[in-house]
């Protein structure tokens, strides 16, 4: 029975993620006073990419790149409880947060190899930018998570969720604001939306790492992006919004968090790489550090 729930969960997250991508396009169109594409446009886009007749390959590593991305995103998703921890696909164990943080990097590292074999200069530029950005936002994110782990006195996601039980004032976003602020700012960088979309930057470096990928490769990358994006939102719901008792609750909470990077992205223009690094290692990291010291002294 567990395996059925697992497959259903992955498919559900995939469908919801693609829906969110389409809804994001519609909302940003409305903000820019446009009519916008239909909300199901991204399903059509992915279907079209899968029906492409030719798909150019540059070698074995190039083929494996999208596979790495998909593996990384599904692996991350499997360790994150979607709803009430006992049923519904959960492979958690004590110390799983640390594994999750490793798996979140796995996809981009594997993809870096693939984009390098594509030998497109834009791809290599994009990869170097992506890895720099990764190093930048990991710091505030990890500082925020360390505070939570100290508070719950455990590195297991299910323990952190059960520590937030009983009323929304127990959620870590209210109980530990000095952990939530750096982590949510790091979320902006993770999502790759406007102020921090420096790795793809279509107008500057022609979608960066994806420059050489077309057809089915791109379809697979869009699919894994949908899963990965939703998995990260689910992780944040579990860390800061107290998890969810049932999938409907989770869908609603993910939607709430998802609005935050969307609206920030609609307002701000793009940072330069150096500015982004300085930004992440500045105020958010400082807030995280202060929170850590305060928590340690208590």
């Amino acid at each position: 029975m567990n395996i059925v729930w697992t497959v259903l969960g992955i498919i559900g997250v995939y469908i919801y993620g693609v829906f969110l991508m389409g809804l994001g396009r519609k909302i940003s169109a409305r903000v820019q006073l446009r009519y916008g594409p239909p909300v199901y446009q991204n399903y059509i886009d992915i279907l079209k990419l899968w029906t492409k007749k030719t798909n150019i390959s540059h070698g074995i590593m190039f083929d494996l790149g999208p596979v790495f991305l998909l593996t990384g995103s599904i692996g991350t998703l499997l360790l994150i409880p979607i709803a009430a921890t006992e049923q519904l696909m959960y492979f958690g164990f004590s110390g799983d947060i640390i594994v999750i943080m490793y798996l979140m990097v796995f996809g981009s590292l594997g993809f870096a190899l693939a984009a390098s074999q594509g030998a497109n200069p834009f791809g290599i530029m994009g990869i170097s930018r992506a890895l720099t950005l990764l190093a930048a936002y990991e710091l505030p994110f990890i500082l925020g998570i360390v505070i939570l782990m100290m508070d719950a006195n455990s590195a297991s996601l299910s323990n952190i969720i059960s520590h937030q039980a009983g009323g929304y004032m127990n959620w870590y976003i209210f109980k530990q604001p000095l952990a939530a602020i750096p982590a949510f700012i790091a979320l902006l960088g993770m999502m790759g939306k406007q102020p921090f979309d420096i790795p793809i930057a279509p107008q500057e470096i022609a979608t960066g790492p994806m420059a050489e990928f077309g057809g089915k490769y791109l379809g697979m990358m869009m699919s894994s992006h949908a899963i990965f994006m939703t998995a990260k939102y689910i992780l944040f719901v579990n860390l800061f919004l107290g998890g969810a008792g049932n999938p409907i609750n989770m869908i609603f909470k993910v939607f709430l968090i998802w609005l935050f990077p969307l609206f920030v992205g609609l307002v701000y223009p793009r940072f330069k790489t150096s500015q982004a690094v300085r930004f992440f290692w500045g105020v958010p990291s400082l807030i995280g550090l202060i929170g850590l010291i305060i928590h340690w002294l208590r």
């Binding site: 594409p37 446009q41 059509i44 492409k52 007749k53 030719t54």
Partner: protein
């Protein structure tokens, strides 16, 4: 004239999906570039038909050529076209791509784009307004949905003929024989 083949259900779904999601690679030569920003942004908003700009040739479905092509730029266009993944379509925008337009007696531009690349649809005008650009894109979408936009098949079947034409105008040919 390619006679109408019977399509099975999968091909119909394929054609429907490619007709509803068109990613543009804009090769902005000539005067046409200036009409495309209004086509994309709030005033005319082509995204409501699922038409979006693509970053690179690999990701694109449509090659939009907006105006005259000099012999030097023709080389780049051929290269970009052959890098695109099929099914792929070409749109000639403006009278310069149809018959030379007002560059008819110029010494270094080509006159008929169709001799060098298989054009699926032309949008006449000098310069076509955004309304007619969107109208042309919708027409192309209808043709794709009916399964009749077969320019890329024509190009693959008649590659020798196209190559001979291309080599006639490009004197210093230094492209690879076929780069896909």
């Amino acid at each position: 004239m390619i006679e109408k083949k019977k399509r099975n259900i999968f091909q119909i779904i394929d054609d429907w999906a490619s007709a509803r999601s068109l990613w543009l690679l804009m090769y902005c030569t000539g005067c046409g570039a200036i009409e495309l920003p209004p086509t994309m942004t709030s005033r005319y908003d082509m995204e409501r038909f699922g038409i979006a700009p693509a970053g690179t040739p690999r990701q694109a479905d449509i090659l939009l050529i907006t105006g005259y092509l000099s012999i030097k730029t023709l080389k780049r266009v051929i290269r970009a076209y052959e890098q695109m993944q099929s099914p792929k379509y070409v749109i000639g925008l403006g009278s310069c791509t149809i018959n030379g337009g007002m560059y008819w007696d110029s010494y270094n531009t080509i006159k008929m784009l169709d001799l060098y690349l298989p054009v699926d649809i032309w949008i006449a005008g000098c310069m076509p307004r955004p309304e007619s650009v969107i109208g042309g894109l919708n027409k192309l979408s209808d043709i794709i949905k009916a399964g009749e936009a077969n320019g890329w098949k024509k190009y693959n079947e008649n590659l020798k003929w196209y190559r001979a034409n291309q080599k006639k105008v490009i004197k210093k040919w230094d492209l690879p024989e076929f780069n896909y």
